[in-house]
């Protein structure tokens, strides 16, 4: 659904309008490829249903020469069996290591076994080796002082070397337990905090534009009918608030808070060193964010998209915010 109603009017247009829209119908290459492949599959199906040799098979026959060298199907079985044996050896090795450690009585994370098994195709005749990666925790009760800095070994190495314990504590990636509670994981560790700051600003703007501020109904502004003194305005002046608003929101997103800008009848005014409000109460939407649910959905070096749950008048909704790094600062491009 379009965010701008003006462009909704272009739906169900006549041929002339559609022709003009087709001029700007840029389609990503991957989408084109996807549609093309889908259409070929459908076409092949239609042709088969009508006892017509599908085009792609016809083309393939013309280009294939010689005879395929087929391998017996037992090759695949042998390859699968070899992979299973590799996994079992890995598990056995882990058991041996655990027994060697003896158990210190301290809660230690179990060793993580990651087995990478390659599958073979029916026409290839090789069996790939499996790579077993193991890590162990650092047990203080070890008496065996043999140490190694390398905790990985291939299948062949496991069968010939003795196991050695790892002296370095396991890395976060090797430990199977869940990482410590954080709000979210993101490639750029700064983005979650930046996103939170921007969501907090949204809350401020939302409340201000909804007149959700504390004001004194008995303290009027001289010369301004209907304006009342605001208590604890979050900025030193209305001008400062507008500057912050324009520095935080893009041109397209600031329209949501246009009532805070300098209009014919602004909600807030500066007068005799104070801020006054002409209240226009309405519901605040983007407040009560549950920051534990904040996550970075996508990101690049100069932009990211963040989402967070919020209390939408008793229901849980998700706010999505697209941010961009423009002229040395992060701004909110879209909030929805």
């Amino acid at each position: 659904m379009s965010k701008n109603n003006q462009f909704d009017i272009l739906e169900n247009a006549d041929d002339a309008i559609v022709d003009r829209l087709a001029q700007t119908a840029l389609i990503p290459d991957d989408a084109k490829k996807r549609m093309f492949n889908m259409s070929k599959k459908k076409l092949s199906q239609m042709q088969r249903e009508n006892n017509i040799r599908p085009v792609d098979e016809t083309e393939t026959e013309e280009t294939v020469s010689g005879v395929d060298e087929y391998k017996p199907k037992w090759y695949r079985t042998v390859a699968s069996a070899a992979a299973c044996i590799a996994v079992l050896i890995g598990i056995a090795g882990a058991v041996v290591l655990l027994k060697k450690s003896g158990g210190s009585g301290v809660d230690e994370p179990p060793p993580v076994i990651q087995a990478t098994v390659s599958t073979t195709s029916e026409t290839t005749a090789y069996v790939s080796t499996s790579q077993i990666t193991m890590s162990t925790s650092n047990h203080t009760t070890y008496t065996n002082s043999t140490s190694t800095t390398n905790s990985t070994s291939t299948l062949e190495a496991i069968s010939t070397e003795t196991f050695t314990e790892q002296t370095e504590p396991p890395t976060t990636a090797e430990v199977s337990e869940t990482p410590a509670e954080t709000e979210q994981t993101a490639a750029n560790p700064e983005y979650p905090s930046i996103a939170r700051e921007l969501f907090e600003k949204i809350t401020v703007f939302e409340k201000l534009s909804s007149s959700a501020v504390d004001y004194d109904f008995d303290a009027n502004a001289d010369g301004y009918d209907g304006y009342y003194l605001v208590n604890n305005f979050p900025y030193n002046s209305v001008e400062e608030m507008r500057e912050d608003l324009l520095n935080t929101m893009s041109a397209s997103s600031v329209s949501r808070y246009s009532s805070l800008l300098d209009t014919d009848s602004p909600i807030y005014i500066d007068a005799d060193g104070n801020v006054y409000i002409q209240p226009y109460p309405r519901g605040c939407l983007y407040t009560n964010f549950v920051y534990d649910t904040l996550e970075i959905i996508s990101e690049t070096d100069t932009s990211f998209t963040a989402s967070v749950n919020f209390d939408n008048f008793g229901e849980v909704s998700k706010a999505v915010m697209e941010c961009a790094y423009v002229n040395g600062k992060w701004i909110i491009d879209i909030i929805e």
């Binding site: 272009l10 006549d14 041929d15 022709d19 119908a25 259409s39 070929k40 397209s252 790094y325």
Partner: protein, 188 residues
Amino acid sequence: MTASEYCKLYKKSPDTAYEQLFSSYCSYVYAVVYNKLRSTASREDIEECVSDIFADIYFNYDTTSSFDGDMKGYISTIAKRKSIDLYRKLNARNIHISDSDDETLSYINSDTDIEADSDKAEMQTILLNAVEGLGEPDSTILIQKFYYDRSSSEIAELLSMKASAVRMRCGRAMEKLKSILSKAGITA
């Protein structure tokens, strides 16, 4: 691509003919389908409809025909019909089946509002003229953003621009568009 060009190519290599047909008309067919299904179907449904259309065109087009004109008319008809079929399928729950006889049905007014349709067509033209008047790449950015509902990063990739530049241009272009439309007496 004319019909005769397509038929000649088909005789040489059906696969190549199909690829050529697809690349020539993919954007057009997509635009037709999208215009009909924009607020009803997901992007995946629209892409599937486009692929159905091309499979249908290829399967049913008579390559022995002597017609030498543009294939666009034929393709457009198939595209519109398929789009409408999908539209009806997706809105099936809203269709009411009436058991009334023909005499009763004749008393029910058509929901066609000629005046409203005419106004709408005029608005569409005004809007498109205003958008195209902004020049490139602003007009493409606005259409892609607000009509085709693409994100700034998708548009940036299509236009080989930076996403931040797309956002900047989009904001400015919208301001200009609002100004042009308000001068024409149209407000948001």
